[in-house]
Assembly symmetry: C2
Homo-oligomer: 300 residues x 2
């Protein structure tokens, strides 16, 4: 063990060591469920994990990072990572050891074993969120990562995944969030019926992103822009939902879209316009457009 502030430490060089095998197992869902841990791989993800760890410590919240494994070369290349690891268990390891732990072909010299944060839905709702992204049976880890990242960029207050969605802590999903996983609360394994009822009770408008929706997103954006930019010109009779109100967006399965149950729970089914020949939007693209439309309406 190596305390970044103190002294050099022995280099872990055996890719078949028990500790290495334990970490490698975290690529599988069962090991993650059993241990409550997952891996963040590569300098970008580990940096965001460490920053989140610091914020949590400052706020008296539970730890985010359990331990860090890094090659000496990586710490030399990105000294910030050693600084941020101060006070944490930081183990020096060879490239072979890291490769044996990692899901990626090249973990770029650093891996953090992180604690799965599992905030409760009621705690998230108690903080009166204005913008939520809900994934309903989103199955592709890359799409889930893109949506989480878009939610982060749009300033969403939290991301929620229903029970049948992909595990956001699987290595490919973690990677595709590009660090955003550590930026906002992510509630997983939620039962949809309970979620819909809780959102309703909290007075949050539920909008279903649905290619067949009867409400055009552009119309909602126009109405919102008029209220904001030219209140005098706004006839005040726009009946639809208001993008500036607290909103939860539902994003559905890649192939099937939202189920009838999910659509029925929504206050409105909103279509993102397709101007070209594309038949439908990728769910990540649709989520980006919807979340940014809400962010624009809410944040100015």
């Amino acid at each position: 063990m190596f305390d970044a502030g103190r002294s050099p430490a022995p280099l872990m060089s055996n890719p078949r060591a028990d500790r290495v095998k334990e970490a490698a197992k975290l690529a599988g869902r069962s090991a993650r469920l059993k241990t409550g841990r997952f891996l963040a791989e590569g300098p970008q993800a580990v940096r965001e994990a460490l920053l989140s760890h610091r914020r949590a410590a400052d706020a008296g919240r539970p730890a985010v990072v359990h331990e860090v494994y890094a090659t000496p070369a990586c710490l030399e290349r990105v000294p910030e990572l050693a600084d941020l690891s101060r006070g944490l268990t930081l183990r020096l390891a060879t490239d072979d050891v890291l490769a044996a732990m990692a899901d990626t072909v090249s973990p770029q010299g650093i891996i953090a074993v992180c604690r799965i944060q599992s905030p409760a839905l009621e705690d998230v709702l108690a903080r009166r969120p204005r913008l939520l992204a809900v994934m309903c049976e989103v199955r592709d880890p890359g799409n889930a990562g893109t949506i989480l990242r878009a939610a982060d960029s749009a300033g969403a207050d939290a991301v929620i995944l229903t029970a049948s969605s992909v595990d956001i802590h699987n290595p490919k999903a973690v990677r595709s969030t590009a660090g955003s996983l550590f930026h906002l609360p992510v509630v997983s394994g939620v039962d949809f019926a309970e979620l819909a009822s809780a959102l309703h009770d909290a007075g949050i408008t539920i909008l279903a992103a649905d290619g067949y929706g009867d409400q055009d997103l552009d119309e909602l954006q126009d109405a919102s822009a008029l209220r904001r930019l030219a209140p005098a010109a706004d006839a005040g009779n726009s009946a639809g939902p208001r993008l500036e109100d607290p909103t939860a967006w539902l994003f559905g399965n890649e192939a099937q879209g939202l189920s009838q149950t999910e659509l029925d729970a929504a206050d409105r089914r909103v279509a993102v316009p397709v101007y070209g020949q594309a038949e439908s939007l990728n769910v990540g693209t649709a989520a980006t457009v919807c979340l940014y439309a809400s962010a624009r309406a809410q944040n100015r």
Copy 2:
């Protein structure tokens, strides 16, 4: 050879046949350059290729699809694909043969050998485009596909790739375009200096999507919305570029962003706002937001 309208044909079953090897080579750039051909894999991509082929035939333009390889099971499952292949060379093959041809693990029973379309930049510009997406050194095939798909959804008139960008005809890029590759002209291998000068001569506003840009995209959208929705409230003194004018968006390299040369060629450097903690936007996400902002301003 099997004419879809006529008679059953022998099944290709030898994965080591010369014809199979020739097709498999199209996963590599040099074979694509030499033959001017590339592969579309899977029912979705092949369907879009075949539809594009029909449109081209109707318009007297060169062929899009050279030949199609499919399993009998696939044609039974999706009869539309056999119908659309009418008049083309359609060869029946085993799953093993298709697997040997394809870059994907599972090509889902159908592959089309397509002709690389290479429209000339001057022809694209002669059609007075209103919205162009330009990739400058975008290197990741998945990102290139996402941008092309977003451009299609936003109704862009063409997509342009500079010489140092990823080859949009590589199998992973083709796959990630989800058929959009066949929906709009894609000009590849363009020299940036020549492009900038041609866009300038054509009177097209060049906007650089740049996280450090001095112009906020939201301000451009607000000004445009005011002109459109409440002309009386628009003071008319908004000085920036107008999203409703013919526009070419520049999207840069994933790691480095746009180069100084590319930034200097732009009329304005526009930042997509980041509301949350995300440090920067994925280039695909940024492109989606920018292109949709233009589409909204131009199409209503």
